[in-house]
Symmetry: C2
Subunit: 446 residues, 2 copies
C-alpha cells in the first residue's frame, strides 16, 4: 500500500472512539477557539479576514473569527492564521509543530457549511490531528532543519484528512485527496517572526479544504505522491521514518500534545510551572531574598533579557517573568506583558534578585528553581513534557480561557465543546467564533 | 536589494510598453483562451469547476471556462487547471514550463472582478509572464531535476506579480506579495500523467490571487523569502543563477515563448513542421515510397509508438502522425487522434513506409525528414526553437484556434484580444470563457 492509501484507510475508516484520546481532541478544540478569539485584532487576522470577506458566498458560508462568513476554503485560511497569530496554540513535539491551527479550521468550516454532526466532526478532528502528527514525525527533524515548517507541511496532510472525513470521502477518494495535498504542501521556517508564520497554518488549512473537495468532485493524482520517487518526502528532505506510522489506527500519538499556559516564549514555561509549585507554599514576594533559575544553555540566547523595557522584551525574560509570577500577575494574560509592567518598581526590585544559571544537565524542556525567602530555601522543578494528565490540564485550559476571554465567553465555549454532538453542534460552536472577545484586562492584573 | 524587492520594483513599476513584446503577450492570451475553451469537458476541468461553483460569491464573481462565476481565487484555480488540461498551451524553455496557464487566469480573474482596464491587464500579463520566466530560469534545471514543476513553482511568482499589478500594488506591497508566494509556491513533477499536472497550474494561479490580495490587505512577510537562508530557492534545489535576472525591465525573455501547433507529444512537433515545409512541394500521399525521420535519440523512448491502436497512442507515434500529416489530416485537431484514424487502411499503409532513425547529431528540439516520392527525394528540417517570427506565428495561432473552436468563436476571441483596451475589454473577454466550445470536428478531417 502506498502511504496515501495507508493514511487514506485510517482517515476514512478508523472508528476514532477512544474516549481518553477524544478528551484531548476536545481540549484542543476548546483551546483553539480560545486563542483564535483572543487573536482577532492581530494585524494578520485583520488582513486575512478582509480578504476572506471580500468574496462572501451568496449562501452557506463558514463563520470567521471576529465575525462574518466566507467560503469554506477562505474561512479555513483566515481562521488558521488568526488562531496562530498569538503563537499561543497547542504544540506537538513529535509533529514538530502546531497541529490544531491547520487541522481544526479546515474541518470546522466544512462541518458548518455541510451541516455535519458533532460526532463526525470530532472523529474528523481526531484523524486529522493524528495524521498531522504522524506525517510530521515521518518527515522528522531533517525536514525541519532543512527549512520546512511542519505546521504548514504536515499540517496540510492533517487538514486534508480532517476535511475529507467531514465530507465522508471513501478510502480511494481520501487517498487521492492526500496525494493532491502532496503537490501543494508548503511552508518555510524563514517566515518566522513575520505574518508568514501564522499564515502558513492558514494556507495548510485551505489546502485541506480544497484538496478534499477536489477529490470529492472526482480529481485524481499519483498514488505514490508522498513517499515515491520525487514525491513530497524525497523532495523536501523528509527522513521517511517508518516507525512514525507504527500502530496507526490502534495507538494515538496525538494526546502527547502540549498546551501553552503562559503568553510568553515557550522556553520560560518550565520555569514558570516550577515557580507555580513553589508558590503553593505561600511565598510573599516582598520577602523573597533570592531566586536561582537553572535552565538548559540553549535558552540563554532565546529568552534571557535581563532588564526588559517593553512588553515584547518581557515575553523573553526569565528574570522579569519570574518576578511577575512571584508577585501574582497572571502570566497567561496577553496585556500583562507591557511597558508598564517592565517599569513597576516592586517588580524591578524583585527581578534584580533573580539569577539565571545555564546548566547542560537540565533537559531543554525542563527547569529547576531555588527561592530563598525568610532564611528558608524552597526548591522545585518542572518538565513541560510531563504535562499529560487530563485532570490537571482541564482546569488550566479553563483558567487560560477565562483570562483571555472573560468568564462568560469561556463558559459558553466550554459548553459548546462539551455538547458538540447535540443537533447543530458544530454550527453552534462556529457561530461563537464571530463573538468579539470580551477581554477583561483587569482580571489579568488582579 | 532582496530578490523580492527587485522583482517587486519590476512588477509594480515597469512600463511594459515594448510593442514587439506586447504582441507576444496578446498571442499568449489568445492561445490561452483557445486551449482553455477546448479543454472544458476534460475531467479535471469538470472537477475544478464544480468546486469553484459551489461557493459562488453573492456578487462580482469571475467567469469560469465552461460557464458560471466564482470567487477570483477559485476561478483562477479552475481556469488554470482547465487551460492546462490538454497540455496544448504555450511553453518557455528558459522557464522550463508553461507560463500562461498560471499567470493569465490569476490576472484575468482580478481584472474582471475589479473592473480594471485592458491596458493595465496587458501590462500585468507582461510583468507576470516575464517574472515567471525569470524566476524559472533563476531556479534553473537543478530545481526541475530535483522534482519540482516550474509551471507550479515559478508560475506562482509570475501569477502573484500579475495579480499584484492588476490590483495596483506599490513596490513595497508587491515585494510582500512575492515573499508570501515564497512560502506557498509548490508543485511536483511526480504528478505528471495525472490531474495533478494541470492542477499545479491552477494552484499557482490561486496563490497569485491570494498572496496579492493579502499584501493589499496589509499582510507582510520576510524580505529575503526567495533567496535568503532557508528561502524558497535554497530549500527547493534552486541554482540561484544570477544571470537569469540580467537586464530585467529593459530586455524581455518572455517572447522566446513556444506555441504548440499540433495536439500531440511535443517531441513530434519539429518533424511535423519539417513535413509541412516538404508538403509545400505538393506531395501526393499515395505516391510516397518512403519517409525517413531523423530525431534525437532521447525521443525514441517518448514518442515512437510504431503501430498505435488508440487515439492516445497516436499522439506518441512518429510514424502515424507523419502519415496523418502527409495525408492532409489536421494534426492541430483533438479528435483526429482516434482509434479510427489508427485503423484507416490508407494511413496504416503509409505509416508502414515511414522509418525513424535516432541521430545524436540532431538537436533535441529539431528533426530532419527525407521523403522519397516518384523517384524524387525531398528533404526538409525544422527546429522548434526557431519559431519566433510573429508574422509566421499569428496565422498559425488563428488556424489552430479555428480548428479547435470553429471559425465563429475563433473570430470573436481574436477580436476581444485585439481590442482588449476598449472600455470593459477584460470583462468582455472573460465572458467569452463561458462559451461552450462550438467544435467543428469535420473541419479537422477535411
Amino acid at each position: 500500500m502506498t502511504l496515501a492509501e495507508t493514511l487514506g484507510h485510517f482517515a476514512a475508516d478508523c472508528p476514532a472512539d477512544d474516549r481518553g484520546m477524544m478528551r484531548f481532541v476536545g481540549f484542543s478544540l476548546f483551546d483553539w477557539a480560545t486563542v483564535g478569539l483572543a487573536g482577532i485584532d492581530e494585524p494578520v487576522a485583520r488582513a486575512a479576514r478582509r480578504v476572506a470577506l471580500a468574496d462572501a458566498p451568496a449562501q452557506g458560508g463558514a463563520t470567521l473569527f471576529g465575525g462574518g462568513q466566507a467560503a469554506p476554503a477562505a474561512a479555513a485560511l483566515a481562521n488558521g492564521a488568526t488562531s496562530h497569530a498569538l503563537d499561543y496554540d497547542d504544540t506537538h513535539f513529535g509533529h514538530i509543530g502546531h497541529p490544531s491551527v491547520a487541522v481544526i479550521p479546515a474541518a470546522l468550516a466544512l462541518a458548518e457549511t455541510r451541516g455535519v454532526g458533532g460526532t463526525q466532526l470530532m472523529q474528523a478532528l481526531a484523524v486529522g490531528l493524528e495524521t498531522a502528527c504522524r506525517v510530521g514525525a515521518w518527515l522528522g527533524r531533517p525536514h525541519y532543519e532543512a527549512g520546512f515548517h511542519q505546521t504548514g507541511t504536515s499540517g496540510a496532510f492533517g487538514a486534508t484528512a480532517a476535511a475529507g472525513r467531514v465530507l465522508g470521502l471513501d478510502v480511494a477518494q481520501m487517498a487521492q485527496a492526500l496525494s493532491l495535498a502532496a503537490t501543494r504542501a508548503a511552508g518555510l521556517k524563514s517566515q518566522f517572526g513575520t505574518m508568514g508564520k501564522p499564515l502558513n497554518a492558514g494556507f495548510a488549512a485551505e489546502i485541506g479544504v480544497t484538496c478534499a473537495r477536489l477529490a470529492e468532485a472526482g480529481a485524481g493524482s499519483t498514488p505514490e505522491a508522498i513517499e515515491g520517487a520525487q514525491g513530497f518526502g524525497p523532495t523536501h528532505a523528509g527522513q521517511a521514518d517508518a516507525t512514525a506510522l507504527e500502530g496507526l489506527g490502534d495507538a494515538w500519538i496525538f494526546p502527547a500534545i502540549s498546551y501553552k499556559f503562559h503568553a510568553c516564549c515557550h522556553g520560560l514555561h518550565a520555569m514558570l510551572e516550577a515557580l507555580r509549585k513553589a508558590q503553593a507554599e505561600g511565598i510573599a514576594p516582598e520577602a523573597v531574598e533570592a531566586v536561582e533559575i537553572r535552565t538548559h544553555p540553549r535558552w540563554l540566547a532565546v529568552c534571557n533579557q535581563p532588564a526588559p523595557a517593553t512588553g515584547l522584551q518581557a515575553k523573553f525574560s526569565y528574570r522579569l517573568t519570574a518576578a511577575m509570577s512571584l508577585a501574582g500577575l497572571d502570566t497567561a494574560a496577553l496585556d500583562v506583558y507591557s511597558d508598564a509592567t517592565c517599569a513597576r518598581p516592586d517588580l524591578v526590585a524583585l527581578r534584580d534578585r533573580v539569577t539565571v544559571v545555564a546548566d547542560a544537565s537540565v533537559d531543554d524542556t525542563a527547569s529547576e528553581i531555588r527561592v530563598t525567602t525568610g532564611g528558608q530555601v524552597i526548591t522545585a522543578a518542572h518538565d513541560v513534557l510531563g504535562d499529560s494528565d487530563p485532570e490537571v490540564i482541564e482546569p488550566r485550559l479553563l483558567a487560560k480561557s477565562a483570562t483571555l476571554l472573560g468568564d462568560t465567553l469561556r463558559a459558553r465555549l466550554w459548553e459548546e465543546v462539551c455538547h458538540i454532538d447535540r443537533t447543530g453542534g458544530p454550527a453552534s460552536l462556529a457561530t461563537r467564533l464571530a463573538t468579539g472577545a470580551a477581554r477583561e484586562p483587569t482580571a489579568a492584573l488582579r
